[in-house]
Amino acid sequence: MNPWGAIILRDLRVAWQGGGALLPLSFFLLVATLFPFAVGPDGPLLAKVGGGALWMAALLAALLPVDRLIAPDAEQGVLDQYAVRGLSDEGVAAAKIAAHWLGFGPPLLLAALPASALLKLDGAVLARLELGLAIGTPALAALGVMTSALTLGLRGAGALAGLVMLPLAVPLLIFGAGALGPQGMGALKLLAAASLLLTAIAPFAAGAAIRAARD
């Protein structure tokens, strides 16, 4: 098999076996369940703020598995073995991003259906939320792998990862939530631009960070 495909399949398997794939999903649904309790059962109010709350939940859900994306592979020598076999660190990072997105993006899109019902989002908003998440989750996955690589070998990497990742994710949040309004097409395009930029940069940043951590 093609080595990149093998890496993607392996990472997906590890994520499922370790329970890491279910964690963001249950967190996302938990937020959607708790939010109406906190705000109160006021339908119009929930519909107004619910979409933004779901975007924030998606963002924080993407942050959850960050400490398991790269650090275990680095400790177990798996990354070294890839490098010895002539696979570039950037390529490995890109494969890891693809695997992380596959394990978390599509399930999140599915989970957004019950979540939006809980928050009384109407069909049009739900459609824009799904579209926005489909565009934005690759960037969230890319950011997750990138911060995971950047905090490699640091103490308290999990907490630090949040500080590194969340500021970079701000554009996604702004444009993603902005796209939920009736005039959202412009925001959606900007979301796509931000997502493309982050997804394109991340493999190089993550690859460089992996290489630096090896020294």
Partner: protein, 195 residues
């Protein structure tokens, strides 16, 4: 296997502000082997990592011809997977054919552990599993960091036999070790002469 070659040309290794070694030159051709010896912290593992291309030498050149199989401190096997499946993952990268993993397991005497998850293995068994990963590949250059650590007498003999077969096929073995290894006619590269 294409003719393997590993050559260091005046290589230096600087870690932090400590110079571990400099002017390190040696060349290994097909069938040759070298033992890397020296006290803890002398730079044996660093030299292995430089040979594997994981660390850039601070000065000098490293030439490699042929694939590299590296067995470092970490086994690089998924703890949750059965040993056989974990080895087959790497065998897929190394162009091994069907049966190579089974043969390698058999040669390291752990064929009966193929279905056991890696996390259940003992230290010595894990070391043998990492060596089986090297055996299952088709690489010309074997870089073994402390391959004898935690191995019992019978396993050491198996390791010796495996290295001999590999050299007979034209492979290279570079091993860092504290204990005597069964490597006939291997040159010795002592490290740590400097303070």
């Amino acid at each position: 296997m294409p003719p393997a070659r590993l050559a260091f040309d005046r290589v230096a290794c600087l870690r932090g502000d400590r110079l571990l070694f400099e002017d390190m030159s040696f060349a290994l051709g097909p069938g040759e082997a070298a033992l890397l010896t020296g006290p803890n912290g002398a730079g044996k593992s660093s030299l292995m990592r430089i040979a594997a291309g994981l660390l850039a030498p601070s000065a000098g050149m490293v030439e490699r011809e042929g694939g590299i199989a590296f067995a470092g401190e970490a086994a690089a096997l998924d703890p949750r997977q059965p040993l056989g499946a974990a080895l087959r993952f790497w065998a897929g990268f190394d162009g091994a054919v069907r049966g190579d993993v089974e043969t390698a397991l058999d040669r390291m005497g752990i064929a009966n552990l193929a279905e056991v998850p890696v996390r259940m293995l003992s230290t010595g068994q894990r070391k043998r599993a990492a060596l089986a990963r090297v055996l299952a590949g088709r690489d010309g250059i074997w870089l073994l960091d402390e391959p004898g650590n935690g191995l019992d007498k019978a396993s050491l003999a198996r390791l010796g036999a495996a290295m001999a077969t590999h050299r007979a096929r034209g492979g290279i073995v570079l091993a860092a070790t504290h204990q005597p290894l069964d490597l006939d006619g291997a040159s010795e590269i002592p490290l740590g002469a400097r303070r």
